[in-house]
Symmetry: C2
Subunit: 289 residues, 2 copies
DNA sequence: GCAAAACCTATGACTAGCGATAGGTTTTTC
DNA sequence: GAAAAACCTATCGCTAGTCATAGGTTTTGC
């Protein structure tokens, strides 16, 4: 079956059908029993594309290694990491170590990295300060392609593809050729893994925060006290508390920390730290009190 | 140029090269000047694939409409929403209205929806309670394909594709055929848009939270007081405060709310609400005090 | 247009919890 | 062994949370 290539004149969309030929994506996971075959598929795709070895961390905040339905660790059981290197399961941050983990927090798209730098599709100044001096020791590779996966409830996963048994330290060509597909399969894999292995996350009952509630919460999230928020919004301290308390009830939270946490997880606060402008006048007023 | 089709035997990866033929993805944005052409590309892809009209919200927590480099609103200027419907820019939640916005908070992958239900690639019970009784009125379409985009710093975007000038209310076939590519282009577009239009987000200087700091923060985030955390961890209240205070310093936060906020944004806390198990004994001890 | 629901605003008193500060000890790591 | 990390005790002032109450405005649905 041959598929016509596209031209660059707006027919790009029409070739989408070969993107996922057939109904079944090998890396997708529907049930726990799919984990291992999906991991094997991801491993094979990575090998086929660039002789990469996969390192996958479903939740960079967690120390749990990814396992299949029978509890076998995928890193050694499927992805081919030697059992002697298994120490990193106790410290998953080491393999997807500090530099990569950091980059995954701040970058939405795949990137490749080596000791000389982190190479993204578009410049991301946030990554400039990441210290790569110990790259090889921390990452166990000279270069790596890494796919950050930002998910619901604030969960971040990271999947890396490093050269298997070779010394490549420039993956720019492979990155250009394969990053989209590596990203696609990594995301499908991690989404499915997270879905089948998570316990049921919390969800409030059809809550809908009001504009005022969100506004007050945002200011609270960036560290303002009730008094400060009141001055900013030109409302009383009691009103601010009232709104925050209402938000807490709706989010089924018991205090402000939990309220902020849940609101952040659900994207109510957005990228608020970048847009909230300090109020020099209000700060002077607070200081005068 | 013809590209051989793949079989189902592990050659899937090899057809990746036609996934993004050439170096330039039309929906990718490198500079603000790219916004409009990228939006036009997204519009055209959506039209070509399924005669869809695009509605895009870069940050569901924000009321700002997406605009090009000259400040023109993309919805009316590019995506073809009639100017008379422009009211929804003041209330972006209406177009990507409550049901869809809610679903985007809880779902990582594309889905399609109509008044009868929300149809995901894999069952997501979290979406079951979403009220779709007013679907048509709120979404302005009988059915819609929607792509949630979870990004760094807890930002969530949503891009919907609804039938343009027709009454389709079952998009399951289009969804199966095109959801991957719609997702791909939507994500590229939104990532680029967010990158070029955001002010510089905050970033702490190479911070690295310790295990204890994260542990204490997690419990704080789920609403436990210092006393409760101390009992849970079998440490003193002061130690708990010490660790949380350390985390605050590293995250450059002024109080607990901001600390929790930043830690959540950066994925330090993960999907913690699902894994923290209540401690009935500690709660009894606290009650006894 | 009207009634109900949702949202907004405010008060005051009290207490629980958090933040800052100070100083010290113990454990872990190199 | 030294330095760093983790842990501990204590105090005090500030902030957040609670409670009960009151009233007004806006939005929604019929």
């Amino acid at each position: 079956m041959l598929v016509a290539a596209r031209s660059d004149n707006g027919d790009a969309a029409k070739t989408a059908t070969d993107f996922r030929m057939g109904r079944q994506v090998p890396t997708a996971i529907q049930t726990a029993a799919d984990i291992r075959p999906a991991a094997e598929a991801l491993r094979d795709i990575a090998r086929d594309l660039g002789n990469f070895r996969v390192a996958a961390c479903a939740n960079i905040a967690s120390r749990s290694p990814m396992t299949d339905a029978d509890g076998n660790v995928l890193a050694s059981g499927v992805f081919g990491w030697p059992a002697t290197k298994e120490q990193w399961w106790q410290k998953p941050l080491l393999a997807l170590s500090s530099p990569l983990t950091f980059a995954c927090r701040y970058e939405n798209e795949p990137f490749w990295a080596n000791a000389h730098g982190i190479h993204t599709r578009a410049p991301n100044p946030l990554l400039d300060q990441i210290d790569l001096s110990l790259f090889q020791g921390e990452v166990n590779a000279n270069a790596v392609i890494c796919v950050p996966v930002h998910m619901s409830f604030g969960q971040i996963a990271a999947i890396s593809f490093s050269p298997f048994n070779d010394k490549r330290d420039d993956l720019s060509k492979e990155f250009d050729l394969y990053s989209d597909q590596l990203e696609y399969h990594a995301r499908r894999f991690v989404h499915g893994y997270t879905r089948v292995s998570s316990q049921r996350p919390w969800i409030p009952k059809n809550c809908r925060l009001s504009k005022r509630e969100v506004e007050c919460l945002r200011w609270a999230a960036v560290g303002k006290t009730d008094v400060e928020i009141a001055l900013i919004l030109e409302r009383s301290c009691a009103t601010v508390r009232f709104h925050i308390h209402n938000a807490a009830i709706k989010l089924e939270a018991v205090n402000r920390s939990q309220t902020v946490f849940k609101a952040t997880q659900l994207g109510y606060l957005g990228n608020v730290a970048a847009v909230m402008v300090p109020h020099p006048q209000i700060e002077a007023q607070v200081a005068a009190k």
